[in-house]
Amino acid sequence: MKNAAFKNTLRTIWRTRARYFSILCIVALGVGFFAGIKASKPDMIRSTDIYSDSQNLMHFRLVSTWGFDEADVEKISAVPGASVKRSYFYDAIISNGSDESEAHFISYDKDSDINQLWLKDGRFPVKSTECLLDSAASAFVNGSRITVLTKDPNGTISNTDFTVVGHAYSSMYVSDFEHGNTMLGDGDIDVVVFIPKDNFIIDVYTELYVVFEDMKAENVYSNGYLAAETRRKAELEALLKETGAERYTRTVAEAENKITEAEAEIEDGEAKLREAEKELADAKSQLEEGEKQLEEGRALLEEKRLELEEGKKEYEAGEAEYNRKTIDAANASTAIIEARRQYSEGYEEYTEAALRAEKELSDAREQISVAEVNLEHGKEKLDEARETYETVRKLYDDAFHVYEELRKSYEDIKETIGMDKEKGLIKEQFDKAYEFFLSIGAKLDESKAELDANQAEYDRYCAELDDARVKYEAGVKTSEEELAKAEKKLSDAKAEIEYNEDLMINGAALLEEGRKKLDEAKKQIEEGEVQLAEGEAELAEKSAEFEEAKAKYAAGLEEYNEGVAKIEAAKAEVEDGKRQISELERPESFIYTRYDNGGYEEFGQNAERIGNIAKVFPAFFIIVAALVSITGMSRLVSEERTQIGTLKALGYSGFRIFSKYLFYCLSATFLGCILGLSIGYKLFPFVIFKAYSILYRIQVINIPFQWADAIIITSISLAVAALTVLFSCLKAVTPVPAQLMRPAAPASGKRVLFERIKFIWKRLSFFSKVTVRNAFRYKKRMIMTLIGIMGCTALMLCGFALKDSISDIVAKQFDDVMHFSAMAYADGIEREEINEIENIVRSYDKSGSVTAAIQKSYSVSAGEGKTQNVYVVAPESSDKADRIIDTKSRTTKERYTLEPGYTLLTEKLAKNLDVKIGDTVTISVSDTKKADFKVSGILENYIYHYMFVSPESYAEMSGETSGYNMLYIRYGIIDANQEEQMAAEIVNTDHVLTMMLQSVVRKMFSKMMEALNLVVLVLILSAVLLAVVVLYNLASINIAERTREIATLEVLGFNDKEVSMYIFRESIVLSIIGALLGLGLGRILAFFVINTAEIDMVMFGREIHIWSYLLAWGLTVLFSLVVNLFMNRSLKKISMVEALKSVD
């Protein structure tokens, strides 16, 4: 029996599988979404807990103005359950070669298990010059080098150059963007650097990390944890106070001891110095004496040297003389030999000459005698000739005379005669005679000349003879004289030779003597030289000794002076020490908890936000799921009305019949729960976690199946399902069988309110009227359809709105809110240098400008407990604030100006601090100094918090009067290459440390925001799924309920299109209306979600684009159409025969 009933149930399920499945799906969707979103918060918190515990994240960080020593560590370690990590930190500006950043150095200690690092890439440092960076510093690639630029006067770290070997996630930094504050640069720590412990060379630990076992056992963010934290913190505070006091006393005592010791030492030193002074004086007089002696020795040596030089010179002269003389002697001897040879030659010559002269003389005499004879002879001849001639001559002269007479006669007659012939003849005769006379006369003259010549020759001969005679006479005389002379010469020469020979012999003896003397002198000179050299060597030695002594003295003197200075210094030190002791401040300790750590609390808050969303969001799904189940079940029960009646008639109890539907619904719900929970528990927390991992880096994602919750959710779902069934069956199961066997009275037609508006109603087409009336006929279904569709549209709009608000931030922030194109970090830059930079900017864009500001990160609070980390910005002049940010309100569009004593806050900051215009906010300038500002305006801003104050107020607040650290650079659109070039130029100027282009920052943010799209996608997909299930369910019920009506229409000859339109026009109208209503609901939901999902640092956009409305609406209607189109198929399946059946 039971078997048959069970089979019947299964068959019912199979027959109505689409409905069964739709119930299953809607339950799965509702439960999955609810459970998933709900689990996200605990999953986030649990993951953080597991992550912190696995990394053994510190519970407390202790910092002291004095640092900590071993004694402190021991004291704290002695607390039961406590373990302590000794650590150092050091803040410095570092450079990677191009950019400068504020870095926080932390010692890396591989032996300690507290605050472990989770390696992201690379490896842990081994050498002391290697470093590991916090994962956020991915811009510093492995293998690159960083250099510490900040001066380290206290000698905190030993190296200033490090090689990056890896990146790690540090559990101390939960947020990628917050690494705490520093006194350096812009106040924000950019990079956390882990360097091996041995780099730190200071003798106290700068920080201690403490982990307590009992706190580890508690879950983070839990009340238990907070209670334990408060208790332990108080304990640590007491302990630190105690150790601090001890340390102070001990230090003062030690210092005083040291001073006493030092004073004794100083006295000692002074005594020693006095002694040294005396010694030095002695040494000085000795030195002076030595110098004198040395001088004397030097003079003596100089004298000796001079003497020696002279001797040497003399010797050299002697030697030269000797050599000359030796040569002379040799020459003389040669001369003598020559002379002798000449002499003998001369002698021979003389003899020869004597003989020759004698012979010559005799020859001459002979010649003279011959000549005398010849002459005698010649005289005779001559005389004879003369006589002849004289005779002839006389004849001739006579003859001639005759002729002359004749001639004269002739001449006389010649005139008388006048006969020419005879005259010629005579004349010729005469001429002939004349010629004859002439020739004789010539011959006579010739003879006379010959005679004269001979006479002359004779005379000459006579003269010659006379000469020869004289010559002879002279020759005899000369010859005699010459011979006598030669003889004399010879004898003279001989005498000279002899004399010279004597002389030579004497000279050789003299030379010998000179040689001997010279040799002696040479020996003396050599001896003198040796002595001199010895003397010099001695002198050199002595002088070296002297120099040494002098140097020693100088060193001694210097040492002495140093000693004096040291004593002076020591005295000053002692004085200083004494003063320090009197001025010494007691050690002050600070205890930081995990909550003081950047991002840690924020993450908890974010988990809380997700928790808030979990409270509202899934309600939709639950409501829709319940509605879908109810309609589904009611339909099923009414469909089986007859069967129920039959069963009742057969004697089945109401409960038995009821249990069938109970099983139907519960099994669908149960399966839906299993499906929904198993997907929901994994999917939603995972997606949410992934979205948050853009901002936080919890490395553990722990998303277990939450059994307890799952059981509770399933139980509640089943209970609701059971109630649904009860509600649906109550009407069907209670009546008597007979009543049930009869068809239920069909829902009656009614005029709707709408018909009363006649003028519209009349204008409606027949089918429109039918549609309107049909819609209102099934009110329950209409409302459900509307709710379902509204829900879908609302969810979708919420998704789109979330996307809008997120993606809008970037465009709004960078295009509208921020009024600058780049930021440059500078170190104390002044207006003159800023003008220089402005010129650079203007060379790229004429309208460019540079606005300087002081921008620092401060902790700002308002009222009780609300504290935010804020960038406080003081522009160079109050009216330049709007060159940095759009100084207007988002809501009222009012523009604000900056005034001293007042501040302009960004919107999200105002919201977080819960302040309005006119309220007061407080900046913590230091632990002891606070500054109050009245809020005069709230500015539109989306990313980070800013607080603008006037430069006067800032100067008053901080005590700093000049030196801007931030430049806001504004220029038009220039292309990327030029922009880069300009940036490089600006960075190259002095004072500018780094530069950040808004275009780059913008890209980074866009990327970050894109990741959140994942959440949006899930939301939209869920909405679509919900839409499909609801619409399908409703459409299928609509068709099932009206099968008969549809069949009738078919019989009446309606074609397919007409039938579809008759049925679906209603769904479509409801979809359109429902979707419109859904937009309103979606808007409310979206703002709620945006408000709760927002992160502290960021304000999401508050505008939903018209496109999102259109899209949400259009998509819903589209899905409705698609579902209806799909349902058209089952419409066609309806047989007209249904129309003939009886009503059931």
Partner: protein, 233 residues
């Protein structure tokens, strides 16, 4: 050629492995203006014939001709047209659209035909002049059936098919409806086919077609039909 002529119409239904012959070689003729009654017990195949004649189903073999048109080879579209313009259907359970008033129910049919009688006219004719704006739920069974008849007639069909028109009505009301049908047949020369298991109705018919187990048992021409008022059952 008769107005309606069925010749050897056979129809088989297959349910699982079982093949049921719902109609076997059915053959009969109905003349124009005749009131024919197809009578037989449950499962005799009378509803099958009604379906086939009404264009809601097609035969497997045999010929069906209506006003000279063979409808057995009509495709789906032609069948819709046939139902739309040529056939008026009256259901046992009236099959009124509950959400529409009497007038609107009539209009629903008229809306889709080319030539129709205005709802007010036809409703007046069936005696519902005063109840035109009432919803079906506000009408009695007989009234509802009259609306149904009005709806069928409003589109000026060639034949009126009635499936147990009195099945859900009490005796008196049933009689009134039958009277209306007979009057329509007589006055408007309308061909009316009534399918019923009640053999008492055969008296009022011009032609009675007896069916059993899917076969035409006999076709009797009744030359003297009895007025409805005189029929008792």
């Amino acid at each position: 050629m008769s107005f309606i002529s069925l010749n050897g119409v056979t129809k088989r239904y297959r349910t699982g492995n079982v093949v049921i012959e719902a109609a076997k070689n059915m053959t009969f003729d109905i003349e124009k203006g005749e009131l024919a009654v197809i009578v037989g017990p449950s499962g005799s195949g009378k509803t099958t014939i009604l379906n086939i004649l009404g264009g809601m189903d097609s035969s497997d073999s045999g010929t069906i001709s209506v006003d000279g048109t063979d409808i057995q080879f009509f495709n789906r579209k032609q069948l819709i047209e046939y139902r739309r313009h040529d056939v008026g259907f009256i259901f046992q359970f009236y099959n009124l659209i509950p959400n529409l008033t009497a007038r609107e129910n009539v209009e629903l049919a008229a809306q889709i035909t080319r030539d129709f009688i205005p709802a007010e006219v036809i409703l007046e004719k069936v005696g519902l002049k005063d109840r035109m704006d009432n919803f079906p739920a506000q009408l009695s069974g007989g009234e509802q059936q009259r609306v149904s008849i009005a709806r069928a007639l409003s589109k000026k069909p060639k034949l009126l098919l009635c499936d147990e028109p009195t099945g859900a009505l009490d005796y008196a009301t049933g009689k009134m409806i039958l009277k209306l049908l007979q009057d329509t047949c007589r006055e408007d020369n309308m061909t009316v086919i009534i399918v019923t298991h009640n053999s008492a109705l055969t008296a009022m018919a011009d032609k009675v077609i007896h069916v059993r187990s899917g076969e035409t048992v006999k076709v009797i021409k009744n030359d003297v039909p009895v007025p409805v008022e005189d029929i008792e059952w």
